[in-house]
């Protein structure tokens, strides 16, 4: 099955302009080279079928159950940072210079104390979700400096891992009884120096992998990326792949040509300046969550509901924007904030307001040679209120049936400005301008909000689908205005009491 790497490499260097034709990664400390079709496999498939590392289970293959959870070690400032990912929707081509650690790799000769604790707390029953649970729980302790953890720490660490047997309680116990100091860390198991020697070389080579069916490009600079996109406008831009890979796995969809942008330095920036925040297209949702949620009330809690750690650790904010789902969870927030996208092509840069970006269902106001490089989100002004809502069948890790964002400025009981956007009520996430203009200048009171709610019936035309009937969505859209009002009242009451 394996091609003799040395000879293959030699041939390749002769025929191409020093472009690398494979992915080089470490798995549990061992070096692997993925050539040709192997590079186009989901990581879970590669682990199970090529390496027989079958502790990583494949269940839903859409990033919703966590049975395939593995650790992804990425190099930042000469050090490896490990985070969980769903290996079923992470493909090998995304992993150049990464260190993947599977359930088989999180211990030395004897069990680590997370594993011990899972055994003694009866945290495993049928055992099928267990490797994923163990990896997620271990990951939490591996990257956390706290000595012990709380119930909600464990819940947040395991949001992306479904278990059908235990009812989770014993798993929580397994975490609560752990002393972080007793846990062997990955840096104890794997020599950083050894890993750096293999993966630490700065990538100066572009990667291009060709098979009969697919092409994968990983340029080193944005300039080269733009050039590639210009020459190959049918190339799909891919970062985290948490949406596109689900389609590949599930829907007879294939990515023939891929332009991978997550490693582009130019797109990794997070900057706060001039009353706005700029987020690069390669910034993961986890990075976004950690660095900016303090600037926006509600956003932290909202991002906690939005997705599992496994998704947020690899998926990007700009990916969520580009995917253009009518229920994309960050979109109502970005629309009410009047966020702006920076688009770039070989012809230059331009900016577009996100409220003008969605033309119809999954249809974007951008050219085929353009790349979204950044999103600029204005900061919330001190006297503004922001509320974010997500209603789904299950509170966490579920796709919304309905979502909403409201940004309001009120003075002396009068609404000075009111900005509202809905998700899940039409082909795109949309601003509800009629409501905005109706409410602006009005008194902030129950009757006025009720009147606005009544108007909604004539503005939106939601559809019925697996996530809810149209009547339900309409009802939610109306009720959310009332909920917004009563929440304000409640918080005012609390303020008075305080």
């Amino acid at each position: 099955m394996y091609i003799n790497t040395t000879s293959f490499k030699t041939v390749y260097y002769l025929n191409n302009n020093y472009m690398k034709n494979h992915i080089e990664l470490c798995i549990n400390g061992e070096t692997h080279h993925a050539y040709g079709e192997d590079a186009f496999l989901p990581l879970s498939d590669y682990l199970r079928t090529k390496l027989h590392l079958v502790g990583t289970k494949e269940v839903c293959i859409e990033g919703d159950c966590g049975a395939c959870t593995t650790l992804l070690g990425r190099l930042k400032n000469e050090k490896f940072y490990y985070e969980t990912i769903d290996s079923c929707i992470s493909y090998v081509y995304q992993l150049n210079n990464c260190h993947v650690v599977t359930v088989e790799g999180i211990k030395n000769s004897k069990l680590n104390s997370v594993q011990e604790s899972m055994i003694t707390s009866h945290g495993a029953q049928c055992g099928y979700c267990t490797p994923g649970i163990v990896v997620s729980l271990y990951s939490f302790f591996n990257s956390c400096s706290k000595k012990t953890c709380t119930k909600s720490d464990i819940q947040d660490a395991l949001t992306g891992n479904l278990c059908r047997c235990t009812g989770y309680e014993t798993i929580v116990e397994a975490g609560l009884t752990l002393d972080n100091n007793s846990i062997e860390k990955l840096s104890d198991i794997y020599s950083e120096d050894k890993l750096l020697a293999i993966l630490g070389k700065e990538t100066k080579e572009n990667i291009e992998i060709n098979t009969n069916d697919y092409v994968f490009y990983q340029p080193v600079t944005l300039k080269e990326a733009l050039k590639l996109k210009n020459e190959n406008p049918d190339t799909k831009i891919l970062a985290g792949g948490t949406d596109l890979h689900v389609m590949c796995n599930k829907r007879d969809f294939s990515l023939k040509k891929i332009l991978y942008v997550s490693n582009l330095k130019e797109l990794k920036s997070i900057e706060v300046k001039d009353n706005h925040i700029t987020i690069g297209a390669a910034v993961t949702l986890s990075e976004f969550e950690q660095s900016v949620s303090e600037y926006y009330t509600d956003l932290k809690e909202f991002l906690n509901l939005f997705a599992s750690p496994q998704i947020k650790n690899i998926g990007t904010l700009v990916g969520n924007i580009a995917n253009a789902s009518p229920i994309g969870d960050t979109l109502p927030f970005l629309l009410v904030m009047d966020s702006e996208l920076e688009l770039e092509s070989v012809n230059g840069k331009r900016k577009v307001n996100m409220n003008n970006f969605y033309k119809g269902y999954k249809s974007l106001a951008m050219e085929s040679n353009e790349i979204i490089t950044h999103v600029n989100i204005p900061l919330l002004k001190k006297d503004e209120i922001l509320k974010l809502y997500k209603v789904s069948k299950r509170k966490h890790l579920d796709i919304s049936s309905f979502s909403a964002a409201i940004r309001m400025k009120e003075k002396n009981g009068i609404i000075e400005s009111f900005i509202i956007a809905f998700g899940g009520v039409g082909p795109t996430v949309q601003r509800i301008y009629e409501i905005e203009s109706y409410l602006t200048g009005k008194r902030l009171c129950e009757d006025i909000l009720n009147e606005a709610a009544q108007m909604i019936e004539n503005i939106i035309k939601p559809i019925s689908d697996v996530r809810g009937h149209k009547e339900y969505r309409l009802q939610l859209a109306k009720n959310i205005l009332k909920k917004f009002y009563f929440e304000l009242l409640e918080s005012d009451k609390k303020k008075v009491l305080a």
Binding site: T56, E58, K107, T120, A124, C126, P131, R164, E169, T170
Partner: protein, 777 residues
């Protein structure tokens, strides 16, 4: 003979180390043998139709496709079913549901199979289809006979009743969502025999069905099951179909053949927990004493019976749950629809039966404006009187009143009930509700013949032990408990006992691991084997221990068998270890292996003509209190606190039992809250993966969850005075659903709020919107 009790120790799950390191092997993990084929199938996309033509021409040409088989390739019988033979492995002329297998595909690669699926063309003449229970009732489409259980005179009671309520209740189905999907490997062996590795709760059924489909004797097939990655009833009968497909391919091609269903295909093509629609009429006094109840159960069976008729019967046995109802009539019918055949799921009809009566009681409470707890306490089965079920089985050793009284105190129910009333008066954003429900679940297979088990115990000359039973391990801890039972019989440590792979060549004619009774049955059979060996060893020891001693004659009554060693109490300084004993017994040609057998005593064959019998050996009981909070604007539900108190007899392994209780509760909570099966008008399952089908997540567990059980050493009819624990706790989750009803009652102005299960946000919002929102601010 003295034994030091070690049962009841909280030892870790057998296999847990493998689970946490990822080294436990499941079907899809087994290394591929050279030459192995991948098996898959092409299924119907129509709910009902006549097959006009099957065109496999293009598919046959695809490189890597090795075999394409239709029902015509079945050499044995394409007809089977655990109760009624009304199922086919591959559709013949009629298609009866979306997901029905038509063609088995065997290929060298997934890619080839994917391609083959695209090229198979089936010409179908569409026929009208039925999906709903109502439509089946209207068109008189039923499976099996109608069943009736009746006691007293309901009509007379309805005439003189103080109050009568009439209505209906409905619950949705539930996907098992075992993480390991259906899977099997068939290895062809010499002389047209097969060895099958199957992820099944029921190796014997897999063996028998495969043999029948291939038209060969049962003894040509050996089925083995190491473990399952979850099952919950979904692999009791329905693991058979994929295993039979692999077997057919292996037999045809003489190559190993493996089938592993994708999560989506598994959900689309296999059966689920039964949806029920029930009509009821209940008479009661102003105090809430139920005097008469009539219930008509209608379950959605899908296209064939599978276990539907039995499941319907258990729903009827639990129609009254934990309450004495003097005049009662239950009628049960199974509706035939164009859906995959619904099947066993933890509780087996019990949850549906109980949900109905618990809903009725909640309604009576709302109607009478009495605390629902008081109504439940009033109607609860008594100890001395009012303690027979509708089918006249005595509720003996009744612990229900004790559970109610204890949990009432520990949960602080009354006080919290009051607090909630206050809270709801002042809350603009949320409504809270609280509810206290009971579970009384009958233990034994209701089909009497299934209550039997065998076990094989082999001791080796180093003192280590192997045990094989017909029971299968799916995470419920069966193997751990049996190893504890066996270890305790011989006074050795459980780690001395190795639980072997379940195999039909070691244990024949086994019953499925189901009905919560696997430890009861297989554990007792193992104990029987141990005791037979022990009898021989004691006899041997009685001679061996006095052989150099002329003072004493051998006496088996003088033998003491303890964890410290085996000795003759007259010569207590001479102790031998278990290892020494078995080694010497072997040298003296004493058999160190035995087969044990157990058939549950006391239970009788149920007489459906009279509706009388004793189907259950005993009842496992439980009580639960749940407090919930619902969002008045979105209908979103949060379970704030649940307290569960069970009677599980004497626990063999508290850690495992606690895991079963919590796991069952959360699984039931999923069924009643977020898990919703959505179908298209054609009967295609739309919620066929975890993206759209939402089982509880770690964030959904109650903020506070207290689980406990009472001390009960009275269940002497069962092994080690234990009680079965697999299914009963699932039904404690009904308290969550009834608590939602209670919350809704605060805005319904005395009206009974209409709520179906599952109580999704959408369902709750719909229920709330029936009542105008009047908010005090």
């Amino acid at each position: 003979m003295v034994t030091e009790e070690k049962i009841g120790n909280n030892i870790p799950l057998d296999g847990a180390e493998g689970h946490v390191t990822g080294t436990s092997e499941y079907v899809s993990d087994i290394s591929k043998i050279e030459n192995e084929l991948i098996v898959d199938f092409f299924y119907s996309t129509e709910p009902h139709g006549e097959i006009i033509n099957i065109d496999l021409e293009e598919a046959r040409k695809i490189s890597g496709i090795v075999g394409l088989y239709t029902y015509k390739d079945i050499e044995g019988e394409n007809k089977f079913g655990p109760i009624i033979k009304d199922e086919v492995l591959l559709a013949e002329s009629i298609l009866e549901y979306v997901g029905q297998p038509i063609v088995i595909i065997a290929g060298e690669s997934k890619k080839a199979i994917k391609l083959a699926k695209k090229t198979i063309k089936i010409e179908i003449k569409k026929l009208p289809h039925i999906l709903s229970i109502e439509e089946a009732i209207e068109k008189n489409q039923f499976i099996g006979e109608t069943r009736v259980i009746e006691r007293g005179d309901i009509e007379k009671e309805f005439q003189k009743a103080e109050y009568i309520l009439e209505g209906n209740t409905r619950n949705g189905g539930q996907e098992h969502f075992y993480l390991e999907s259906q899977a099997a490997i068939a290895y062809p062996q010499e002389n047209n025999t097969l060895e099958i590795i199957s992820s099944t709760q029921n190796p014997t059924e897999v063996q028998n069905v495969i043999a029948e489909i291939l038209g060969i004797p049962f003894n040509k097939i050996v089925v083995k099951t190491r473990r399952m990655g979850g099952a919950f009833g979904g692999k009791e009968t329905q693991a058979t179909h994929p295993a039979a497909m692999a077997a057919l391919v292996a037999m045809k091609t003489k190559r190993p053949a493996r089938i592993v269903l994708s999560c989506d295909d598994d959900m689309i093509t296999t059966g689920k927990r039964h949806e029920f629609y029930n009509k009821y009429k209940v008479a009661f006094t102003k105090e809430g004493l139920i005097t008469a109840l009539k219930v008509e159960f209608f379950s959605n069976g899908g296209y064939s019976n599978d276990l539907s008729t039995s499941i319907r019967e258990r729903a009827m046995f639990h129609a009254e749950n934990a309450y004495f109802i003097p005049n009662i009539k239950t009628i049960g019918k199974v509706c035939k629809t164009n859906l995959p055949s619904n099947t066993a799921f933890r509780g087996f009809g019990g949850p549906q039966g109980m949900l109905n009566i618990e809903s009725i009681i909640e309604d009576i409470a709302i109607f009478l404006k009495i605390d629902a707890f008081d109504i439940r306490r009033l109607n609860c089965f008594g100890i001395e009187k009012n303690n027979t079920t509708s089918y006249e089985q005595e509720v003996s050793n009744n612990t229900l009143p004790e559970l109610m009284d204890k949990l009432l105190k520990t949960s602080n129910y009354k006080e919290r009930h009051k607090q909630i009333e206050e809270y709801n008066k002042n809350s603009t954003l949320y409504l809270k509700g609280i509810s206290f429900t009971l579970v009384m679940f009958g233990i034994s297979f209701t089909a009497r013949f299934m209550n039997q088990a065998s076990a094989l115990v082999n001791i080796y000359t180093d003192g280590s032990i192997q045990v094989s039973t017909g029971g299968t391990e799916m995470g419920q801890g069966l193997n751990t408990k049996i190893s504890q039972i066996v270890a305790d019989e011989f006074c050795v440590e459980p780690k001395t006992v190795r639980m072997m792979i379940t195999s039909t060549e070691k244990n024949n004619n086994t019953s499925p691991s189901a009905a919560s009774a696997s430890t009861d049955l297989n554990g007792t059979a193992a104990k029987d084997a141990c005791q037979k060996i022990k009898t021989r060893l004691i006899e041997f020891a009685s001679n061996y221990l006095v052989k150099d001693n002329s003072e004493h004659k051998p006496s088996i009554n003088a033998i003491e068998w303890t964890y410290d060693g085996i000795y003759d109490k007259r010569i207590s300084n001479k102790k031998i270890t278990f290892k020494e004993l078995v080694k010497n017994a072997y040298l003296n040609r004493i058999s160190l292996g035995e087969r044990g057998f157990y058939a549950t005593p006391q239970i009788t064959l149920f007489d459906w003509n009279t509706g009388r019998g004793k189907p259950f050996l005993y009842f496992t009981n439980g009580a639960a209190v749940s407090e919930v909070r619902i969002d008045r604007f979105t209908g979103e539900l949060k379970v704030l606190r649940t307290d569960i108190l069970m009677d599980i007899g004497k626990s063999i392994n508290p850690g495992i039992d606690k895991g079963q209780i919590i796991g069952g509760f959360i699984q039931g909570m999923g069924w009643l809250t977020t898990e919703e099966l959505k179908y298209s008008e054609k009967g295609e399952l739309l919620s066929h993966s975890p993206t759209t089908y939402k089982i509880p997540n770690i964030q959904d567990i109650p903020e506070v969850l207290n689980v406990d059980w009472i001390e009960n050493g009275k269940n002497v009819v069962n092994i080690r005075q234990s009680k079965a624990v697999g299914e009963p706790p699932l039904m404690t989750s009904i308290s969550v659903w009834t608590a939602v009803k209670h919350a809704l009652s605060f805005i319904s102005n005395g009206e009974i709020p209409k709520l179906d299960a599952p109580a999704t946000s959408e369902e709750i919002l719909k229920a709330m919107s029936r009542f105008p929102i009047s908010m005090k601010v």
